[in-house]
Amino acid sequence: MSKLEIKSPLPGTFYRASSPDVPVFKADGDAVSATDTIGLIEVMKTFQQIPAGLDGKNIKFLVDNEEPVMAGQVIAEVEE
């Protein structure tokens, strides 16, 4: 079973939920499909939705909530 990587398209700050008092878009272990939002990136005070971009299962986040990310950095891994 190979691992697939979900990379950040932008540099910025990564958020796992749309606000601090709502559940995360995806929890570790969830399955994802390509159009599912897995988080937000705040870049220059604007927020962009980050889609999974691929189908997979058992997502594992490698970046914590509110952590800085670089463009191209792997945010999460999923299993095929």
Binding site: P11, G12, T13, V43, M44, K45, P68
Partner: protein, 461 residues
């Protein structure tokens, strides 16, 4: 003057601007920065730099304890807050003073009072400044809201008493919408600001945003004339001018006089801006709010009056009386400022951090570029997208627009998309040239006119 050293509690172009003013006065500069800003221009220019934390603003530039600790460690006499971040935080002003340093701005009490929209409106009314028809203070509940709307007429704006920067505002067109939105607005205000208080104002549909630059030393109060800031996108100014052309002389006199009356009413100290809505059909103007700090657009005022407002802030905060009286302040010619952002105007203003590969800045009499950029600098993604401000001054507005067009063409910023093409298109628009705009003009213009004008711009360039 008592200030010999200053800590700059900000970043970007305003930090650079403050350092230049301080250096001109022989003041030692200490620049704080986040981990993401270690190579910013202000750090390079300052005499000393201190890392105060991680990139997220709340862990660095908004962290009062970290900033105060840096100020104490560096042994400065004063702290300049710039704009944004902690500049209008009364508790920060108090903390600076409690640590035995000078806060370059008004007192914590003045910041809190003028920052509370309801209290500011009341103080404006007391000073005889016209306010937008609406509630005298907080609206107690839906019954009072209904009664009020019956006297002011619709549309009506519901605003959070503790709001700011365009947040917490709802516009309702009739009684049904008012009944639906009022409780929601209160709940949202409570969630966002910890204060569910609301107030109401009549909406002035076709208004211009005109603001007056005030200055005080606690005893003497003057104005440095007004600015026209109606070209806005999402309630953010993109282009500012001084003076507000098409403003009749009698209106200008009353407008600027009312701003000084307000400054006197509160014993204001430092630089401030009184913002108004101006209805050019009726000639009426209405108070909106006071900004208790230096503003992004202060250079247009400096260009037409010849005063350095940031240097004046240092002098007044250091205990020197205001160096000018009203009669010494004269406006000459016309100035326009374009905010150059790292955003792509052809792709819905998508923010575009990245590395500056080339920078070429126009020079000449009446041209000024306030910036944070240098070649090789990588713009971090964690802060706002303002890269710099191109300011042009000429004898007349027409001459200013022509000079602006040339200056924009000569401004080369490569490596990231910027809003320069937007400004070039605006500088060539006939309605902009004729001054036929208002606060909602730009968004409509972007939807309908920008693409065609920008296309032509690219062919010419």
């Amino acid at each position: 003057m008592t200030i010999r050293s200053v800590l700059i509690a900000n970043r970007g172009e305003i930090a650079v601007r403050i350092i230049k003013a301080a250096k001109a006065l022989g003041i030692r500069t200490v620049q704080v920065h986040s981990a993401a800003d270690a190579d910013m221009l202000a750090v390079r220019l300052a005499d000393e730099a201190i890392d105060i934390g991680s990139p997220a603003p709340k862990k660095s530039y908004l962290n009062i304890e970290a900033v105060i600790a840096a100020a104490k460690a560096s042994g400065v006499d004063a702290v300049h807050p710039g704009y944004g971040f902690l500049s209008e935080n009364g508790d920060f002003a108090d903390a600076v003073e409690a640590a035995g340093m000078i806060f370059i701005g008004p007192s914590g009490d003045a910041i809190r009072m003028l920052g509370d929209k309801v209290a500011a409106r009341q103080v404006a009314a007391k000073a005889g400044v016209p306010t937008v028809p609406g509630s005298d203070g907080r609206v107690a509940g839906l019954d009072e809201a209904r009664a009020l709307a019956a006297t002011t007429g619709f549309p009506v704006m519901i605003k959070a008493a503790a709001g700011g920067g365009g947040r917490g505002i709802r516009i309702v067109a009739d009684i049904t919408e008012l009944e639906q939105q009022f409780p929601l607005a209160s709940a949202e205000a409570l969630a966002a600001f910890g204060d569910g208080g609301l107030y109401m104002e009549k909406v002035i549909t076709r208004a211009r945003h005109v603001e007056v630059q005030i200055f005080g030393d606690g005893q003497n109060f003057v104005h440095f004339f007004e600015r026209e800031c109606s070209l806005q996108r999402r309630r953010q100014k993109v282009w500012e001018e001084a003076p507000a052309f098409l403003l009749p002389a009698t209106v200008r006199e009353r407008l600027c006089g009312s701003a000084v009356a307000l400054a006197r009413e509160v014993g204001y100290r430092g630089a401030g801006t009184v913002e108004y809505l101006y209805d050019d059909e009726t000639g009426d103007f209405y108070f909106i709010e006071v900004n208790t700090r230096i503003q992004v657009e202060h250079p247009v005022t400096e260009m037409i009056t010849g005063f350095d407002l940031v240097q004046e802030m240092f002098k007044v905060a250091g205990g020197t009386a205001l160096s000018v009286s009203q009669g010494d302040i004269r406006a000459s010619g016309h100035a326009i400022e374009c905010r150059i952002n790292a955003e792509d105007p052809f792709k819905a203003f998508q923010p575009s951090p990245g590395t500056i590969t080339k920078l070429s800045v126009p020079e000449g009499e009446g041209i000024r570029f306030d910036t944070m950029l240098y070649e090789g600098y990588t713009i971090p993604p964690f802060y706002d997208s303002l890269l710099g401000k191109l300011i042009v001054h000429a004898e007349t507005r027409d001459a200013c627009l022509a000079k602006l067009g040339l200056a924009l063409q000569a401004l080369a910023i490569e490596g990231v998309p910027t809003t320069v093409p937007l400004h070039l298109a605006l500088a060539r628009d006939a309605r902009v040239a004729n001054g036929l705009f208002h606060t909602r003009f730009l968004e409509h213009w972007l939807d309908n006119d920008f693409a065609a004008l920008a296309g032509r711009t690219q062919e010419v360039a």
